[in-house]
């Protein structure tokens, strides 16, 4: 099994081996070659009695009344230890026995019903992680208020991530940009949304959220782990100058059926998982929005607006895993998403009278993954996956007077090889390849770039036509980790990425280096530097919409940091980062786009986190940051569109169980409370300082002041959530209330102007929104 896929118990063992104290455990060298272990229940600390423990699938013992087990005369080398207690989640770990030494271990087992991969403990393998990496423990973060139980949205609450507010006001041009901007990305360490990648089981998806942020396109319950890498990541990740969200789905290794049905004011969903045979398991989930059932009535009576088709989204996931041997796992994973909305605007915005008529937004994608993982007992692992997909979007405005339709079939292959060459040396290498067929038909103005503002859409020159382009993307990487001592890891890697298509091609080699040092238990110093490059987007490379001669955008990442374990199951993670960006795509009057843009971002991140213990978890994340851009060398520096000087997020959850754990589903009676508070600097804004009347179109062309020279007011919001679960013998019922914007703060999200730009006011965000939901699980 790959190191990065360790379950919580394996991680505990890693912790033990590192001599850490996060979970009560010790690792003592003794005379002889034996393994002695003690098993306790994680929740109660009581010994696990009579648990079957196997070594290498052969030697078999049962834990004593003290929860203790022994294996004597164990041969030196690596061994596989498995525990399959009926009351606890299955557990498997690999242990190295050194000649002449014995190991003494203590394991804290989860109650049965939680997936073995679910309880990822963030601290356990910190020395092995990237310089900047936050791993989300899915069980604890699933009920953070304001996220509707969506764990992918939790990423937005981590350090280095700007608060997203959508494209509003004159930034990107109101409706047009809002429509075109549906969907993708987070703003990480001052990078544009399109600079970061979201990977699902190693392959990119075109869309992270339904309707640009409503909910993520993957059901949280099929996810196993999310690695958030805001910068300075290793050579295995390519085509990103921002950050990486690396999402892993659950393996289907279940021994019993379980699942749930859920209904809320946002959507209705189900999930079921279980075994098909001894070696084959499955997970199936699907979801449909329920907003369309109530939103039209809320919006009824608004003059000039008619919701002809309320927002509807679907998504589905089906995964099958087959483990033909203990070393191999084959997987089949199909998933997809579909978003649609239509409305009629009879009274257009004041500054853009042509924005009227029917508007529609439709976007879908489908993916099929085939994967194979082989973990050799000789300390190497290979992971190969093949993916095929189809992405499509259709956006039209003003009775089809402006539209853009894209169809993108594609296929890709990725192979990764990981080898523990020796105790202190580890090698990772891999290749990936993607073939994309980009088919676009449009009648639309050129999309605005970051920092630009526009006037009325009616006066903008239309790009019109259709185009089909075949683009190959490929990459190869190798990295090597060296541990000169047990408490130090030095990782060096190099990566080459490139793309090739009609009239367009470029490639780059990128070195990356990181260093982590644990001078004493619980304290880690870290540093990293690397070069990151990414291909321009398909529309930027398009003959119709862009410039095929563009080359890859580039960013150097530098970071230093410090991690410190603290009392009460908490720890501190502190990072300082700097990014130097060049060759950024910026608009040009002759060539539409050129690689003339420059940028830099400097910041500091603090994460003070308490892991789930005694029912309480949470974190305080603070980011101090400044991100600037200029569109060409001769321009002055200006603020980046999403520059937010201060980003403070407080997240807390508390569980108050009132009953025993029910063995069938692992749940118990009780309350859960969640809180999220955000305090964030307002986004930069470009003031409009005048206008000129365009007599031919009867609109006013705004005269913009200095780009992003003003800032919107401070944002602050409190969200709360409360759950109560009734745990019956065979199933459990949970009722929850998720309240966004509890004190109904009128947060400013953008600026709007009157028809001739002589008056302005603010767009404000959503008012208080209580959402009620019910979930039955078995």
């Amino acid at each position: 099994m790959k190191k990065g896929n360790l379950n919580s118990f394996e991680l505990i063992v890693v912790v033990l081996m590192l001599g850490q104290l996060f979970v009560p455990a010790t690792s003592l060298a003794q005379e002889g070659q034996s393994i002695e272990g003690k098993l306790v229940h994680k929740d109660s600390g009581e010994p696990v009695i009579g648990a079957p423990v196997q070594l290498d699938g052969e030697l078999f013992v049962v834990s004593s009344e003290e929860g203790v087990f022994h294996f004597e005369n164990v041969a030196p080398g690596w061994h596989r230890l498995t525990i399959d207690d009926p009351e606890c989640a299955p557990f498997e770990v690999r242990i190295e026995v050194i000649a002449g030494k014995s190991i003494k271990l203590e394991y804290a087992l989860d109650p049965r019903g939680k997936d073995e991969m679910e309880e990822m403990v963030i601290k356990s393998e910190r020395l092995e992680l990237e310089v900047s990496n936050t791993v989300l423990e899915l069980d604890e973060v699933g009920k953070i208020p304001g996220t509707q139980g969506d764990v992918l949205k939790i990423v937005e609450n981590l350090p280095g991530v700007a608060r997203s507010s959508g494209a509003v006001g004159n930034k990107g041009g109101g409706m047009g940009a809002m429509a075109a901007g549906t969907g993708y990305g987070i703003v990480v360490r001052g990078a544009a949304p399109e600079d970061s990648r979201v990977l699902i089981d190693d392959h990119e998806v075109p869309l992270l959220y339904h309707f640009g942020g409503l909910k993520s396109v993957l059901n949280s319950d099929i996810l196993k782990r999310i690695d958030f890498l805001p910068g300075g990541f290793g050579a295995e990740y390519g085509m990103a100058t921002g950050g990486i969200v690396d999402v892993r789905t659950r393996p289907c290794t279940h021994k019993q059926y379980d699942g749930y049905l859920e209904l809320s004011m946002i959507d209705a969903s189900f999930m079921i998982k279980g075994p098909i045979s001894e070696d084959v398991g499955f997970i199936a989930a699907a979801r449909r929005s329920t907003i369309d059932l109530w939103l039209p009535s809320v919006l009824e009576g608004i003059a000039g607006f008619e919701m002809t088709m309320a927002p509807v989204y679907y998504d589905y996931q089906l995964k099958l895993d087959w483990s033909p041997s203990s070393e191999d796992r084959l997987s089949f994973f199909a998933f997809g998403s579909d978003d649609r909305m239509e409305f009629l605007l009879s009274k257009p915005p004041s500054g853009d009278p042509s924005l009227r008529g029917e508007f529609s937004i439709g976007q879908f994608f489908h993916r099929l993954h085939l994967g194979w993982v082989h973990a050799s007992p000789l300390d190497w692992q290979v992971r190969i996956s093949l993916v095929g997909g189809y992405d499509s979007s259709n956006i039209s405005m003003g009775n089809e007077s402006r539209y853009i339709r894209t169809d993108i079939p594609h296929m890709g292959l990725r192979a990764d090889f990981e080898w523990q060459i020796a105790k202190r040396w580890k090698l990772k290498t891999g290749v990936h390849w993607t073939l994309t067929n980009y088919d676009v038909t449009l009648r639309m103005p050129q999309p605005l770039k970051e920092g630009e503002v526009r006037g009325p859409i009616e006066t903008m020159e239309l790009l019109e036509g259709s185009e089909e382009a075949l683009i190959w993307y490929g990459g190869v990487y190798a990295s090597c980790s060296f541990k000169p001592t047990e408490n130090m890891v030095l990782t060096g890697g190099v990566r080459a990425d490139g793309y090739y298509g009609d009239l367009t091609s470029d490639w780059a080699i990128m070195p990356r280096l990181s260093y982590k040092y644990e001078p004493w238990s619980g304290t880690i110093f870290k540093a990293g530097v690397g070069l990151y490059q990414q291909a321009p987007t398909e529309d930027e490379l398009s003959k119709t919409m862009g410039n095929p001669k563009l080359i890859m955008e580039r960013a150097w990442h530098y970071s230093v940091g410090y991690e410190q374990e603290l009392p009460f199951d908490s720890y501190l993670d502190f990072n300082i980062f700097y990014k130097e960006m060049d060759r950024l795509v910026s608009t040009d009057p002759d060539d539409k786009y050129l690689n003339d843009g420059l940028g830099h971002a400097l910041g500091m991140e603090i994460l003070l986190r308490r892991d789930l213990a005694d029912g309480l978890f949470g974190w305080l994340a603070y980011t101090l940051m400044r991100s600037e851009r200029k569109d060409r060398f001769s321009d002055p520096w200006r603020l980046f569109d999403h520059d937010q000087t201060h980003i403070l997020t407080l997240v807390a959850g508390y569980r108050l169980p009132t009953g025993p754990i029910m063995p069938n589903h692992g749940q118990r009676d009780g309350w859960e409370f969640g809180l999220r508070f955000q305090l964030v600097s307002g986004n930069p804004s470009t003031p409009m300082v005048g206008s000129v009347y365009d007599s031919d179109y009867d609109v006013y062309q705004p005269i913009a002041g200095d780009t992003n020279s003003q800032r919107l007011p401070l944002f602050h919001q409190l969200d709360l959530r409360v759950d109560y679960t009734w745990a019956f013998t065979t199933w459990a019922l949970t009722l929850y209330l998720d309240i966004q914007n509890v004190y109904n703060q009128q947060n400013v999200e953008g600026v709007k102007y009157n028809y001739d730009y002589t008056e302005k006011s603010y767009y404000t965000g959503l008012p208080i929104i209580p959402a009620l939901g019910i979930k039955g699980s078995f």
Partner: protein, 275 residues
Amino acid sequence: MRRILLLVVLCTAGCAGQFDSATLVERLRVLGVRAEPPSVSLTDDVELSALVVDPTGGGRSLTAAWRVCPIDPREPNAACEEQNSYPVAGDQLSLNLSIPELVAWLAEKGIDPHEIPLPELTLQIALEVRAGEESVKANKRLKLLLDEEAPGNQNPLLDGFLIDGEAPGAEPIIMTAGSLHTLKPVVGSGSREWFLPANEQEQVQEEHLFTWYSTGGSFLDGRTILDTDNAGNSLDTNEWTLPEEPGIYTMWLVLRDGRYGIDWLAADFEVLAQD
């Protein structure tokens, strides 16, 4: 949840109108700029005029500064800067532009229209109107016909309007405060021309767009078009709710043909208190 609702809320907020409608004229404004003809040969002259309204100015004098700029095709909406423009002699709201003199100036700037291998060249006309300390700016485009065979455009003709289906009588037209009336433009015959768009094979007919303004009351729509919907209903009519306050009000109706052609009319209304 956040962004989709935000999208809807922002959209509707934009439509709901926290601001006064553009149809309500309360200060110095330019409502239209006309070139007669809107496309002109290199040897003719053009009559420039502007519909400038100053309802609260108390009859103060208005002065106009006219300039002409070549349009940079890379930045078609760029401002017409004074240092790179041709100043038109005179400060009236209506004056004559000599195209031969303009062509000579363009040639001096390295843009000789005679040498350009295109059927037409589009120029920008910039107008700045001053009234005391106030000033407003406006632009319009003018087409120079470089090919003598190229068909030119004509300004549309707005003959008048109907109120509740009938032609109004002598001005001021007397109406009742707060009353609702249907207004329908009357377009001159032959006004809506057929033309061959660039890169097209078949001729199409101009789209006539009407824009409505007044010093009081409110219109159902700021714009209407000379067309019918699928059910055959006319889309050029508008509804005007007269102000509650008695007094003299002015209504302006501007017609555009989508090819830089324009015409307008104005009418005064005396609004009387309800009985």
